[in-house]
Amino acid sequence: MKKIINDPNQVVTEMLDGVVGAYPGQIKRIPDTNVVTKKDAPVQSKVGIVSGGGSGHEPAHAGYIGKGMLDAAVAGEVFTSPTPDQVFEAIKAVDGGSGVLLVIKNYSGDVMNFEMAAEMAEAEGVDVAQVIVKDDVAIEDRDGRRGVAGTIFVHKIAGAMAETGASLEEVKAVAEKVIANVRSMGVALSPCVMPASGKPSFELGEDEMEVGIGIHGEPGTERKPLASANEIATELTKHVLEDLELSGSDEVAVMVNGLGASPEMELHLVNRKVQGILQEKGVKAYKTFVGEYMTSLEMAGCSVTLLKLDGQLKELLDSPSDAPAFRS
């Protein structure tokens, strides 16, 4: 296992030191927790937005804290949901009196831990709403779908909505709209290695790839022979499009997300084909994001995300954000 780390059991807390050390003017850490918040949290009368999950997905989630996006991010151990007490600390820290929205990715662990935190907060009189992102079309059963890179669009748009002074209900509604209209699918060319165990998450032959992977090093839904950039882009986009049911005049936001080790060059090759497919279908790519937004440690591979837009979503997507990992 080749990693630039110190003690494998301290990676999360040390990483958070590094993140806060990079942007000390924008964010701060709640002492004795793995919670990072905006420096000026809570913002009075603004709905607070809290996200989080296991670590190993950097820049998710702390990189998305900023004006126009998240108010706090809760970091669990690597690939392990944070505990309810930590999420509860985040909720308390960002509640400016208008309530708090929890953006949860659809994993048993995340759902349960955030839910318990919500119960704790409600018991203390904080208004809490939850949305559960389930954008991964690799899973057929809609309710069982994982939350993956599409989560970034939920952060961005819910965050922008909160900035307008909207109510918790309104912010939740627009987040649900994003969730209803966003789809992703990913492929891995190599596994990732958890620092604590030092072992690869799965074994893959030199000429194989895992299709339909999540972001925690879980094996995918199908193992296939390694394909070209065009074939990979075509397969991922096909599944996403089948599920999203776009028609000719629709506009979408595109995200080609690197999982960790794949060079940006390769992401652009995938994007090239995705754009070609959309053009053929007459679907307009309103805005495109190519880069590492939701990673899985040093996994090689990528995911393709499409978000179907309407006027409201376009406006909120375009509005300013000063989060280090998503400036707009």
């Binding site: 151990e77 392990t80 949901s81 505990t83 309810p84 662990g109 349960m112 318990m116 958890m194 165990s197």
Partner: protein, 206 residues
Amino acid sequence: MAFTVEQALNWLTKSNEKIQENKDYLSELDQAIGDGDHGINMARGFDEVVKKLDGNDYKQVADVWKDAAMTLMSKVGGASGPLFGTAFLKMSMAAKGGEAVSYDAFIKALEDGGAGIKQRGKATEGEKTMVDVWSPVVKQLKEAKDFDAGLIRDSSKSAMEATKDIIATKGRAAYLKERSKGHLDPGSVSSYYIFQALSDCIEGEV
């Protein structure tokens, strides 16, 4: 026979021992059909439970379980943290008020614990989760009249082994669909260790 504070403490200490010993094995099981952290999560949590219990003087079984529950909830994370946390919390609530716990009260506590897992995880039997150990074990223990180390050992062992053939529909293993078959469910195996530890405690005292 009744279940004492000392046994309650022993149970958690032994559970911790078994989990520490099998930490890598549990993670390997999770690697096959999950994300490979189950052993790490459980070892971290139970280590903290034992530390927490060590520093205190307990008068009631319920208090032991409550501290275990709170520690598991705040130290494990993942799916197993809230699930085992909830189980011990429900057990603690059921056992409130007595220094020692009768067999009937103990079974009622276990039953509440199992129900807590089901409710928190929105899972039922046959989904390849720890529910597939907790439910059948509770069901079989309910039919016994008193603590029976052998029954606890055997029922949890066969329930744990039976998870191998199930196709997962809850938890991360569900993403693999058919490919989840042929692998033991990690949370069921750690539940099995917890019941083995219980069996050992009972045996040591009977």
